[in-house]
Every structure is written in structure tokens, then in C-alpha cells.
């Protein structure tokens, strides 16, 4: 028999499997229902800020809203439910909204049809405000032609030139235009769906903060939601935030208008009283057929749990958040069946397991978001000083890292076809911050820049001649970085719980600092090693490449250095140079076999 309390929703997926007790957080659910109904009736966009302590059931409540909308839909009232977990870089919000809105439209309903067929009116192709590309893509989807490519485009993914040509679409644009383009697509789709409400559920808002003191991300979010408000008249926006960040969030979202719009309506989740926790526990027990049969007629509403132990362990203040109440029940259930807990024994094991569970392949289209969300955090975990504010006003620069010397960081992951990559690389020349000697350009290693991408290669060569370097990130490192982003997002939201107790962000960051996956460790090592390379290294490399074997004294003379300085460096970098001591000290190319010592 499975432990009916073992599944604890923690911000990962909407919780639709565990039984729902309508009496719990009924007010918050009613607030969501009223807002959605008002949006439909008044044809005015509305927003609701939903707060609650970690583990109080925000994500579970969104699942309840989704279930209600499905019932609504069965009764002929259409709507589009768009759950979005806000694990992203604040500069990519519109792309995130577009991707999830597209996914919601492409989802198949119980009858096998896609949501898009139900909500889109047939006249979209004649609407003057619909862009040419969007009309083509929607037409293709409605007719069931080239569905994979059309769906990918709708989600905002970049398509190969052949697919673009086949559909008759324009080439992708550069970074800022992509955000603007995504904003326009979201706007046009929402207008087409009207008057049916689009319910945007923005979960784990705290994840968009890159650090605890990052106000810029909340401000971007505030501006984006304010724009969303003006975009269409059929949006119901539910923003979920944990109580701990309420004040910082409202301070950060900026000006009165942003703040007022986000919290146009407010609702909060409550912890459970002893009676509510008892009802919840009974509902979970009854959800199991075998247990329900055995429980029939029991005087103890909690059987097989020890009701006295349940009351005794319930906090003296008389309330408990749902997740902790479920963890308590889980513990009592294991006691009843006398089984040994096979789960992780310590925080450390728990984190190892969670990081491993999140290690999943990253698609090429996801990798930009993964890199832009996680790279700076990765440097920070290594103890390097990171200045994300250096990127202000220069969209092409993601931040500046202090790694021996100052290095500007930029993620350039556009496909080489089209103008996107070339524009981004050219933009970097202008965006390269003054006083920063080095620029590192990160890119998914699977996206090479082939010989056909002549202009992109030229732009890259120009940057490299100014001291930029190109870092290709392997797919193992991308998967690890995505897992790290998600683990930290859960920790920021208080959604990482070990036996009911929250594993805080500090604990997770401290653990990650010493337990980074090896692929990320290697990425960092090579990055730092390169940043600490002396200015004379290229000259030494050239010398050794030419001469193949060179005496240490000759090499140091040529470079105007002290021999010991060169020796120290080459000894510490066996991957770059070979070194043989003894009577005569010589350097050679690392790939060469070592020179036999003189007798």
C-alpha cells in the first residue's frame, strides 16, 4: 500500500492528483473565481496577488482553479488556462508568456481536439491587426499542416531556414526584437481569444530574483504586468508570491501604477487549523480504495493514524501550513505500518537526490533561457563577485564577473541562419562596457557557427581580435545548469521541503558551492583559468608551437620575463605545455611526448 501522504506538491507541477478539500482555502478560491467571472462579464483585464507562506498550497489552489475551468468549459464556457512557473531571466518575460500561452493553446482536450480549435475564431486571417507570420502559422495549425514547425514557431522557438521557407515565414530577429515580437504575439493571441478569459497563473514569482537584493527583476516584472493589463481586455492574471517576499516585492515592482495593477485584488492562503488538517488527512486516506473500505465505520476519523499522537504533535499555536500537516500524517502513517523510511536520511542526501531528479536534457531552444538564468548564479556560487547591474542599458551584456580580471558575460545562442546572431554579435561591440578588459560569449555547443554564416563569423572574429572569447557549453553542463536553476527556484519559493521542514536557500547555496556537478565545475575551471592567464601567454604559445622544444631560459629571454615566472606557470598548466627539468629545463608542446632527461 502506498503512503497516501507521500505526494507533496512543491511548486513543480499543478497538483491535480491528490484529493482536494473545498473547505480549505475556500475564500482564496472564491476570490479567483470571482475575478475570472468579472473579467468575462466586464470585459476588463483584472489581476490578483495571491500570497501565503511556503507550503500553504498556492500551487494546489491553481490546480483547483484549473479543474473548475475545465468544468466550466464542459458547460460550454471557453477559457484558456496558462500555468507559468516563473523560472526565468527577467529580460525574457514576454518570451516565457508566449511559450506558455502557445502550449496552452496547443494542449489536447479530452475529446482529442486542441484548445486552439475551440477558442480561435475562424476570422483571424482577415483581422487587420494580425501579423502576417502569425496568420500563416495559425492557418497551418488549424488545417493540421506542418503542425510541428508551426507549433514551434508559435512557442517562439527558432526554426531552421528550410522550415521558415516552407512555411513562408520571416527569419528571426535579434534579442530585443524577440522580446518585442513575443509581446506582439501574446497581444494578438489574447485579442483573438477574447471574450473568453485567458487565465495567466504566474507561480513562484520569487524565482525571477537573481539575488535576494535584486530589485531590478521585480521592477521588470511590474512593468510587464502593467503592460499586460493594457494589452487586452480578457486577461485574469493571478500572481503567486510567498509571504516572506511580499514587502520586498511591492517595494521592487516600482511606481504606484505597477503596484496597484498587480494587487488590484488580493487574496491570501491560510494555514490549517486542527479541524481542517483532520479533514484533509481523512480525505487523503479515503482516496485510497483499500483504506477507505477498512476505515468505514471507524470511530477514529484518522484511522489508521494515531489521533492522539496527531493532536499532540500539532503545534500549540493551533495551526500548521498544509505541507507540514501532510508531512506529519506521512510520518504517523509510516509508524502505523511499521515500515522503515527508505528516503534520504539527511539534508545533504535529500539535495543530492533532488538535483539528480532534475537532471534532464535541455533542448536547443531552452538553452538560452537556462544560460541567462543560471550563469551569473553559478559564478556567484563559486565565490566570484558578480555585477548584474553592469548590464543595465546594454541588453546584449548579461553581467560582469570578477575572475582575476573583469569579464563581461553575454549569452549568444541565436541560430546562425538569419540576422539574429550577427546582429547580437555586432551589438556586443557597442555594448562592451568601458573599463572591462574581457568579454566572454557563451553559446550552446550544439549550435555551431558554420562556414556558411559568413557575417556572424566576421562579427565574432572582430570581437575576438579585441580580446573576446567564445565559450561553448556542452549539453551535460546545460542540463546541470537547468537542474541548478530549478533547485534554487524551489528553494527561493520555500518549496523545497525535507520531511515537512523547509530547506532554505542559504542551505542549498552552501551545499551547491561545494557539490557542483562535475560538468559545471569544469566549465567554471576553464573559465577562471582562462581569465587568469598572463598577457604573455599567446606569445609563449606561438613560440613553443614554432620551435616545438625550447629552453626555458631562451623562452623567458624572448618574452622579457624571469625564468622562474615561466616555470611556475607551465608547471601549473600541464594541459598547455610540457616541461622537463633536470640539467636543462625545456618547454614543449603539450601534445608532444616528453623529452627524455639528459643522462
Amino acid at each position: 500500500m502506498l503512503n497516501p501522504f507521500s505526494s507533496q506538491c512543491a511548486g513543480v507541477d499543478l497538483d491535480r492528483r491528490s484529493p482536494d478539500v473545498a473547505a480549505i482555502n475556500a475564500q482564496a478560491f472564491l476570490d479567483c473565481q470571482r475575478m475570472i467571472q468579472d473579467v468575462r462579464q466586464t470585459r476588463q483585464t483584472q489581476a490578483l496577488l495571491l500570497t501565503g507562506p511556503p507550503g500553504s498550497g498556492k500551487t494546489h489552489l491553481l490546480g483547483r482553479v484549473q479543474g473548475w475551468l475545465e468544468e466550466w468549459s464542459a458547460a460550454g464556457e471557453t477559457s484558456v488556462f496558462v500555468p507559468i512557473r516563473m523560472v526565468t531571466n527577467a529580460r525574457m518575460l514576454w518570451r516565457l508568456f508566449r511559450e506558455h500561452l502557445a502550449n496552452a493553446l496547443l494542449i489536447r482536450r479530452k475529446d482529442g481536439s486542441r484548445c486552439i480549435h475551440q477558442v480561435l475564431k475562424r476570422d483571424f486571417e482577415e483581422r487587420a491587426e494580425t501579423s502576417r507570420d502569425l496568420s500563416i502559422v495559425l492557418g497551418s495549425l488549424m488545417r493540421g499542416e506542418r503542425v510541428l514547425d508551426a507549433a514551434a514557431w508559435l512557442r517562439g522557438e527558432e526554426l531552421p531556414q528550410a522550415a521558415l521557407d516552407a512555411l513562408g515565414l520571416m527569419a528571426p530577429r535579434d534579442d530585443e526584437q524577440q522580446e518585442e515580437g513575443s509581446r506582439r504575439i501574446v497581444k494578438q493571441l489574447c485579442q483573438m481569444i477574447a471574450p473568453a478569459p485567458v487565465v495567466l497563473c504566474l507561480d513562484q514569482l520569487e524565482s525571477i530574483q537573481s539575488t535576494g537584493s535584486d530589485k531590478e527583476s521585480f521592477r521588470s516584472f511590474g512593468e510587464t504586468v502593467s503592460e499586460l493589463h493594457d494589452l487586452a481586455n480578457n486577461l485574469a492574471i493571478i500572481s503567486c508570491l510567498q509571504s516572506g517576499l511580499l514587502n520586498a516585492f511591492l517595494d521592487g515592482v516600482g511606481g504606484g501604477q505597477n503596484r496597484d495593477r498587480i494587487q488590484e485584488r488580493k487574496s491570501a492562503l491560510q494555514p490549517l487549523t486542527l479541524d481542517q488538517a483532520t479533514i484533509l488527512a481523512a480525505a487523503r486516506l479515503d482516496a485510497d480504495d483499500e483504506l477507505r473500505r477498512e476505515r468505514a465505520g471507524c470511530t477514529n476519523a484518522l484511522w489508521p493514524l494515531d489521533a492522539n499522537a496527531f493532536r499532540a504533535r500539532f503545534p500549540s499555536e493551533g495551526y500548521l501550513v498544509a505541507r507540514k500537516a501532510i508531512a506529519l500524517c506521512s510520518d504517523l502513517f509510516e509508524q502505523w505500518r511499521g515500515s522503515r523510511d527508505t528516503g534520504p536520511a539527511t539534508d545533504q542526501e535529500f539535495l543530492e537526490q533532488h538535483l539528480e531528479e532534475r537532471l534532464k536534457p535541455v533542448s536547443e531552444d531552452e538553452s538560452e533561457r537556462v544560460l541567462r538564468t543560471g550563469l551569473l548564479t553559478l559564478f556567484r556560487l563559486r565565490g566570484l563577485a558578480v555585477d548584474a547591474s553592469s548590464s543595465r542599458g546594454a541588453a546584449a551584456i548579461d553581467g560582469v564577473v570578477e575572475a582575476g580580471r573583469r569579464v563581461a558575460i553575454s549569452v549568444c545562442n541565436q541560430r546562425p541562419q538569419g540576422r539574429g546572431l550577427t546582429n547580437r554579435l555586432r551589438g556586443l561591440e557597442a555594448a562592451w562596457p568601458a573599463g572591462v578588459p574581457e568579454l566572454a560569449i557563451f553559446r550552446d555547443a550544439r549550435r555551431g557557427i558554420g562556414p556558411g554564416a559568413v557575417k556572424a563569423r566576421e562579427a565574432l572574429a572582430n570581437l575576438e581580435s579585441r580580446g573576446a572569447r567564445f565559450v561553448q557549453v556542452e549539453h551535460e553542463a546545460l542540463a546541470a545548469l537547468k537542474a541548478l536553476n530549478e533547485l534554487l527556484a524551489d528553494a527561493k519559493s520555500g518549496d523545497l521541503a525535507f520531511r515537512g521542514d523547509i530547506v532554505g536557500l542559504t542551505t542549498v547555496e552552501n551545499w551547491l558551492a561545494t557539490h557542483l556537478p562535475s560538468s559545471l565545475q569544469s566549465l567554471l575551471d576553464s573559465f577562471i583559468e582562462h581569465s587568469n592567464q598572463p598577457a604573455w601567454l599567446p606569445a609563449l604559445t606561438e613560440l613553443v608551437n614554432e620551435a616545438r622544444i625550447v629552453r626555458l631560459e631562451d623562452a623567458s629571454d624572448r618574452l622579457g620575463l624571469h625564468p622562474e615566472e615561466v616555470e611556475d606557470f607551465v608547471q601549473l598548466h600541464p594541459s598547455l605545455f610540457g616541461f622537463a627539468g633536470g640539467g636543462i629545463r625545456v618547454l614543449y608542446r603539450a601534445a608532444e611526448p616528453p623529452v627524455p632527461s639528459p643522462a
Partner: protein, 284 residues
């Protein structure tokens, strides 16, 4: 594996001025005794670590896989004790090369919990300072006075001489503060008996939010005009209201990840828990 090599490793690490990377350690040993293989060195280092005579530092500054004769956390603690012995710095401004702000914050919290460091009142607008002893805090105060007097072009000795007439003994040592036990005497706002404070809180909550919605504790305190000196009473009154079933409190999930200043803004539960907001319960 040679015991001599293990001793040599420990000896090198003990005399090293900073943690040594594997390559540097090997290089140092090669100069002394020729022909140390990577395998022998690895075994010697592992054995020394297992015996507790060497410690793995992981990546430190720009070197990978470092080792030293002292553990990372112990060294950090010693460094912080050193920094707080001569001066009483502001915790958030303490920097130790090679350590993340989070590690430093965790270290400070451990030392505060152990009583090795003590918390002192902030000077001017600062929230708090930490120091090893009252003398360290006195040094910080003296520095503050000196800079102010320099700006006012008054020699510090003249100030102290004048102060000794009007302000009592300059020798008295300041005592550490304890938020849970501190008494409030002559503070800015009049001290309220607990029931009166609780009543004020209950009266203010519905004016700030409807019952069932959260009010950030900092906004509630500001709304009531309660200053820092009366915060202890405010915290106790809120906890009392919770125990009487009149309010819910939302616990902060990671209080030790906050800066000292931000944590002090929360309601201190007195049991290691901190609360971020107060919700007037809807009585069903």
C-alpha cells in the same frame, strides 16, 4: 604508500601560508624529494585527510582542489574572530577573500550562537555591529567619534576631556544587546504594557488589510509608529495574539539567509523562528 610522504605533505601544508592546490603541492614536494608520482601523492593526501591532519578546501580563489592543515570553516571562524577583535564591524560589510557572502553570514551566525562574537548596537543609522569584546566595540565607537570630530575640526582629546565633565566616565564599557531581554527605558516612544500594545495591534490590522489578508510586520510596526526600542514589546504582543488564536503569523522560510538588518525587521519568535507577516484571523 610511504608514511614519510604523508608526513611531508602535512608538514608542507602546515607551513604553507594559504591552501595549496594539488599542482602546487606536488611541485613543492618534487623540489624536496624527486620522483613523487601523482598516485603516491593522491594516496598520501587522502590518508592525511582521513587522519584529520589535512583538510580539503575544494576550490579556493583561483586554484582547484586545495588542501590545508586547517579546515575551511575553522579558518573562516578564526579570521572573523581576528577581524572582530580589534574592531566591531557591520556584519554585512565583512569580506573574506575566497568566501561567499553566504558562507560569511553563516559563520557569523554560528559565532553569535556560540557566544564567541557579540552583537552591539549600530552606530548612527546602522542596524548592528558585531565584536569579540566590549573593547572592540569601544574601538569602533572611538573611530566613529574621531571621524565626526575630525570633520568638526575638534581634536578628539578635547572632545573626550569635555565629555568627561558632562557625560560621565568615558571608560565604561558598552554591554552587548539582547533583543529578547533588553529593557526599554527612556526610549523614543512610550513603553506600553503588553495588553495595551496587543490592543493597538488588533485595532490597526483591519485598517491596513481586510481580515484574512496578510500585513507585512514592518508595515504594521510603521503604521503603529513603534520604534526600534519598543520592537521587543511589539514582537511579544504579536506572539501573544497568535497564542490566543487571534492572528496567524507567516514564518520566513530562510531567515538566516537575510542580512542582519532585514532579519531584525521580522518578528522574532524567540525560538529561532522569524515571522514576516500578521493575518487577522477570520473567526468561523
Amino acid at each position: 604508500m610511504s608514511v614519510d610522504l604523508r608526513d611531508e605533505v602535512v608538514s608542507r601544508l602546515t607551513t604553507a601560508k594559504s591552501p595549496m592546490g594539488y599542482a602546487a603541492l606536488r611541485k613543492a614536494l618534487v623540489k624536496k624529494s624527486k620522483g613523487v608520482s601523482a598516485n603516491d601523492l593522491s594516496e598520501a593526501v587522502t590518508a592525511a585527510v582521513n587522519e584529520g591532519r589535512a583538510f580539503h578546501w575544494g576550490n579556493y580563489l583561483n586554484s582547484r582542489q586545495c588542501y590545508w592543515h586547517i579546515s575551511r570553516s575553522q579558518w573562516l571562524n578564526e579570521r572573523m574572530i581576528e577581524l572582530c577583535s580589534e574592531d566591531a564591524p557591520i556584519p554585512s560589510r565583512l569580506k573574506v577573500k575566497g568566501f561567499t557572502p553566504i558562507a560569511i553570514r553563516t559563520g557569523i551566525n554560528e559565532l553569535l550562537k556560540a557566544g564567541t562574537l557579540k552583537k552591539y548596537p549600530g552606530i548612527g543609522q546602522e542596524n548592528a555591529r558585531i565584536g569579540r569584546s566590549p573593547q572592540a566595540y569601544a574601538a569602533a565607537l572611538h573611530e566613529f567619534v574621531r571621524t565626526r570630530m575630525d570633520r568638526a575640526k575638534i581634536p578628539a582629546e578635547v572632545f573626550y576631556a569635555a565629555a568627561s565633565f558632562g557625560l560621565g566616565s568615558p571608560q565604561s564599557s558598552p554591554e552587548p544587546v539582547n533583543a529578547r531581554t533588553a529593557t526599554v527605558e527612556g526610549a523614543g516612544s512610550p513603553q506600553l504594557a503588553l495588553p495595551a500594545m496587543a490592543e493597538r495591534i488588533l485595532g490597526a490590522l483591519p485598517t491596513l488589510e481586510r481580515p484574512g489578508l496578510e500585513v507585512a510586520s514592518v508595515l504594521l510596526r510603521r503604521g503603529l509608529g513603534i520604534d526600534a526600542a519598543s520592537k521587543v514589546d511589539f514582537d511579544r504582543a504579536v506572539l501573544d495574539l497568535r497564542d490566543r488564536g487571534q492572528v496567524f503569523l507567516s514564518e520566513h522560510h530562510d531567515p538566516w539567509g537575510l542580512t542582519e538588518h532585514d532579519r531584525m525587521e521580522l518578528i522574532d519568535g524567540g525560538d529561532g523562528r522569524y515571522y514576516v507577516s500578521v493575518t487577522l484571523r477570520v473567526q468561523s
